[in-house]
């Protein structure tokens, strides 16, 4: 069992987009820029919603954009983007979305600790604090706190 590899985390506050596809692209773009994912990953994230519906909208106002490791992931990564204006994903209950996470994992295990920690923080009200952040710097420190918490917790395997 390998330890938790350091994840690339990126935060961007108050981004301007005109629709859900653009929101997904915007959430993936800095991860492409940092070399964690390939450009095609964002397009696959969009296709998954087109094929399967907007189930990635996992809570009111919150989307979790992701595809599979083989869709172009090089390193474990997680981005958070708050939107200036919320967008509709077509979800019957959780629209509109103003908080978009994107993550990529190079295999089916590396992201588990990170996502579990994110889930726990969301259960405890992290979304409210993220929405209140006015700058990318504030958002970034909130996300770093999530990523740092992973290292202290033992990886939960299967």
């Amino acid at each position: 069992m390998a330890g938790v590899k350091e994840a690339i985390t990126i935060a961007q506050a108050k981004v301007e987009v005109t629709g859900w596809r653009e929101a997904i692209r915007a959430s993936c773009q800095p991860l492409v820029g940092s070399g964690a994912i390939e450009e095609r990953y964002a397009e696959r994230c969009i296709e998954i919603v087109e094929e399967q519906g907007p189930y990635i909208v996992v809570a009111p106002g919150i989307a979790l954009a992701h595809a599979r490791p083989e869709n172009g992931v090089k390193r474990l990564c997680l981005s958070v983007t708050t939107l200036n204006e919320p967008v509709e994903f077509g979800h019957p209950e959780n629209d509109p979305v103003d908080l978009v996470f994107a993550f990529g994992s190079p295999d089916s295990e590396q992201h588990i600790g990170l996502l579990q920690t994110l889930a726990e923080r969301l259960q405890e009200g992290l979304a409210r604090r993220l929405r209140e952040a006015q700058t990318s710097k504030e958002l970034d420190s909130l996300m770093r706190a999530v990523a740092n918490a992973v290292k202290k917790e033992p990886g939960c395997q299967g």
Binding site: Y55, V58, P60, R68, P92, F103, L115, L118, L122
Partner: protein, 104 residues
């Protein structure tokens, strides 16, 4: 497959989503907490919908989009729209688990 009555072994719970990596994993964490809150001994796994079709479970949890096709695939199928709300999920699980005799 159905374990009617008092539980002798942990309940097999499955959270589902399209890819089986992200959304269902978030929901798994929430389900584990909700079941703990209810005092139900359970093992929770997360799956994508296509793998889920071939897995036996006592309880399946997911979004309406996915649970519709699983309506008769498990004794208890629960639909939830907020994957991060532990209390809401515990409330939704309470009645059907009681009905099965898995919760007193």
């Amino acid at each position: 497959m159905t374990k009617k009555g008092h539980l002798k072994e942990p309940l097999k719970v499955m959270t589902i989503c399209g890819v089986g990596m992200g959304s269902s994993l978030i929901l798994r964490s929430t389900a584990e907490k909700a079941l703990r809150q209810l005092g139900v001994d359970a093992e929770v796994a997360h799956e994508d919908v296509s793998s889920a079709r071939s897995v036996d479970a006592d309880v399946i949890i997911g979004q309406a989009l996915h649970t519709e096709e699983f309506e008769n695939a498990a004794p208890v199928v629960v639909t939830i729209s907020d994957f991060t709300d532990v209390d809401a999920l515990a409330n939704k699980l309470r009645a059907p688990l009681k009905e099965q005799g898995w919760l007193v």
